[in-house]
Assembly symmetry: C2
Homo-oligomer: 148 residues x 2
């Protein structure tokens, strides 16, 4: 059935980030909607951020476009242009390879939720604020390529 | 800037549907967010349905996955499985080539809004309720291929 029952789709806060970079995303709870909905042409995640949680470390993708729409609550989008409040209905786009690291921070006292879509080819990407990048085969490494 | 200012993105109710199939979508007002946001790996539209409006004729895609998330108001998702109410935060997925014609109807007295994402390759598709299909080069034709 096309309508998705979110309650039946597993929710996870798992991350492959090495410490201490994993701590800010411990309160990020995501559901992978594309496989649950039978979609293969792009990825879709439904994400809930607990108070204080980040969506990720600030990052940008080499080969994948990203699009985000807020569903509820309030988050702060942080990127090279500054800080921007996102509330229900607000949209943001992150073109691949633009070098503009971005993430969301939930600085409020309530949960917030958003849907994020990713397409293209995973060629890895970079985290401008920390000594980490990720590789096309999805490993987290130091800037010089040394593994964590 | 990643955050999109929806008010600056043109809104259109244009359709290529021939009469009388164009009438139900006259109250469908959409913005193309992917080009506005610099995205090329998938399409994204922000759509407002006025009371009474449909999102499209009931249809399915041969080569494109679709994903929809409701932002506000209420719509009825009609597909081969029946009717399903969608409200803010509800999600629906439409795998390509599944033959399950779908669309949204706004039967409420207020506007509703949603975001819809499409990816893959436009190979055309079918409208199960009417004598129309669309071609890979985006023409609307009768089931037998005769043009409108």
């Amino acid at each position: 059935m096309p309508k998705l029952d979110l309650d039946t789709i597993p929710q996870s806060n798992a991350t492959g980030y090495p410490p201490p970079f994993d701590a800010p995303v411990a309160g990020r709870w995501y559901r992978r909607l594309a496989p649950a909905g039978g979609l293969a042409d792009f990825g879709v995640s439904h994400v809930v951020l607990k108070p204080g949680a980040w969506s990720s470390q600030r990052h940008w993708h080499i080969g994948e476009d990203e699009f985000l729409v807020m569903l509820s609550g309030e988050a702060v989008l942080v990127d090279d242009d500054g800080e921007h409040i996102l509330r229900a209905g607000d949209c943001a786009s992150f073109p691949k390879n633009d070098g503009n690291g971005h993430h969301l921070q939930n600085r409020s006292a309530a949960e917030c939720a958003f849907v994020v879509v990713g397409g293209g080819t995973d060629l890895g990407g970079d985290y401008p604020d920390i000594d980490m990048r990720w590789t096309p085969d999805d490993r987290y490494v130091h800037k010089d390529g040394a593994p964590y």
